[in-house]
Amino acid sequence: MIQFKKISKIFYPKTVAVKDINLSIRPKEFVSIVGQSGAGKSTLIKLLTSQLKPNSGQIIVGGWDITDIKAKEIPLLRRQIGVVYQDFKLLPSKNIYENVAFALEVCGVPNKRINSVVPQVLKIVGLKEKAGHYPDQISGGEIQRAAIARALVHRPKILLADEPTGNLDSLNTKDIIDLLLKINEFGTTIMLVTHNKDVVNRIKKRVVLMDHGEIISDQEEGKYIL
């Protein structure tokens, strides 16, 4: 589903973000990318969403070589990948329903379909009752669930979660991780970027450990060990 082949990203003049990364993620897999700050975890997410372009190597997403993707194709790529961020990135002037619907509106989905799909997804993430609320009227955990709903609403095959629990307390963290596991059970490939040891150790899934821009271990049902 996702392949990084000898990927390197160097920021001018010589800050190495990631170096010679070889990583293959299979469909429906749940992979945790772990490591300390500056290890290069978020760079991988940015490379996958074409926010950054690699200096060398090849990136393939769902059979599509996006290494030298054209600017006009980037929106198409992003519509096929759901992304959840630590700082949520919801639109503050839209309510929760509108935020989730927006992801479909940018894809040109007809209103009729939006009106039937959005309530279903809000129900899955447990926010049906809060649909009319604005982001500043709900809790951090609820905002992150709304962000997950937005990332899921167009049914992407891949969901990238970049430190999704970074701003949440332990109870909300558990809720969000359980939600991600549930989504994975439905068949969505999940790449979770985190430095939360407890989360990684609890879920018992594949763990890729990064340090200084390189992969130093890759274990099935691994643990976050430094």
Binding site: T49, Q51, K72, P75, L76, L77, R78, R79, V83, Y85, K89, L90, L91, P92, S93, K94, F102, A103, E105, V106, C107, G108, P110, N111, R150
Partner: protein
């Protein structure tokens, strides 16, 4: 395409009303800039009208020798009338000149009696010449200096007005230049104010723009609502400016009429030039908003 345009319009209006205070501040700045531009238009019109009023009061009178026949004077009149610089030439006959003289001094019986004692009309015919511009008088006088005409003329009163006319010419040129400089400075200030107002408004949306792009919105889908808002801001600010300007014009009209001593009507001037003034201002405001919005958004859509 239709659905996309509809959504872009919906987002533009939604954002306008949901960020009401920000919209209001942006709109206020635009209105202030437009009102300032119109104040400059008023200043320009008043300055030009004042100069025209003064220029209109200036003329030169040519007094012919009393032995010169009416036909000769009429020939000179015909020739001068044909000059490109000349606006009008009024002929005053010997008899009319005498009549005017008597009327002017009717309260002074000694002067009237003296004139009647002479028996013969001592006054010659005269021509009152008005040039199109005060700067044209020297050229007209140069023509009259030629022996062909000079021999017929008793006197000219241009020398009396020469200093005044030169001063008016000087003032006209200075006011003209000042208006251009002030207009350019005001235009530049207005452009900078509008550009910054729009830039600030869009700056507050930078995180949203970033989020939209990460969801997969195309540049057009992100830029569209901001560009459309630019057009909405342009139209609304023009309407509000009109609502402020016309009562203001009505208020200053009697004062301007008093100062300019004529039938000058500033409201009528704006009505007669409505499309030209406000059409250009509207077009300018919309274009400026569009360009400012485009430049500001473009900076944040590069994700």
């Amino acid at each position: 395409m239709f659905a996309s345009t509809f959504r872009v319009t919906k987002f533009a209006l939604q954002d306008f009303f949901r960020n009401f205070w920000l919209s209001l501040v942006t709109l206020t700045i635009l209105v202030l800039a437009l009102v300032t531009v119109n104040l400059l238009v008023i200043f320009n019109v008043v300055a030009k009208t004042a100069i025209n009023t003064i220029e209109d009061k200036v003329d030169i009178s040519i007094y012919f020798k009393s032995e010169i026949s009416e036909d000769q004077v009429m020939n000179v009149q015909k020739y001068i009338q044909g000059l490109a610089q000349v606006k009008s030439v009024d002929y005053i006959s010997k008899e009319q000149a005498l009549e005017n003289f008597k009327n002017k001094h009717q309260d002074n019986p000694k002067i009237i009696q003296s004139v009647e004692e002479i028996e013969k009309n001592p006054l010659g015919a005269s021509l009152i010449i008005k040039a199109k511009n005060s700067s044209d008088y020297p050229a007209v006088l140069d023509i009259l200096q030629t022996p062909q005409y000079n021999n017929l003329i008793e006197s000219k009163d241009f020398d009396d007005h020469k200093t005044v006319i030169e001063k008016i010419n000087g003032i006209t040129q200075k006011v003209g230049r000042s208006v251009i400089i002030i207009a350019l400075v005001f235009a530049l200030i207005s452009i900078l104010i509008i550009f910054n107002a729009i830039r600030m408004a869009i700056y507050t949306h930078r995180e949203e723009i970033f989020a939209m792009k990460l969801i997969g919105a195309t540049d057009w889908f992100v830029e569209g609502p901001f560009l459309l808002q630019g057009v909405i801001f342009g139209i609304m600010s023009m309407v509000i400016t009109l609502l402020i300007l016309y009562p203001l014009l009505g208020f200053i009209r009697p004062y301007l009429q008093l100062i300019l001593e004529g039938d000058f009507n500033i409201v009528k001037y704006f009505n007669q030039n409505f499309l030209l003034i406000f059409g250009l201002e509207l077009l300018g405001a919309i274009l400026l908003n569009l360009i400012s919005s485009y430049i500001a958004v473009k900076r944040y859509v590069k994700v």
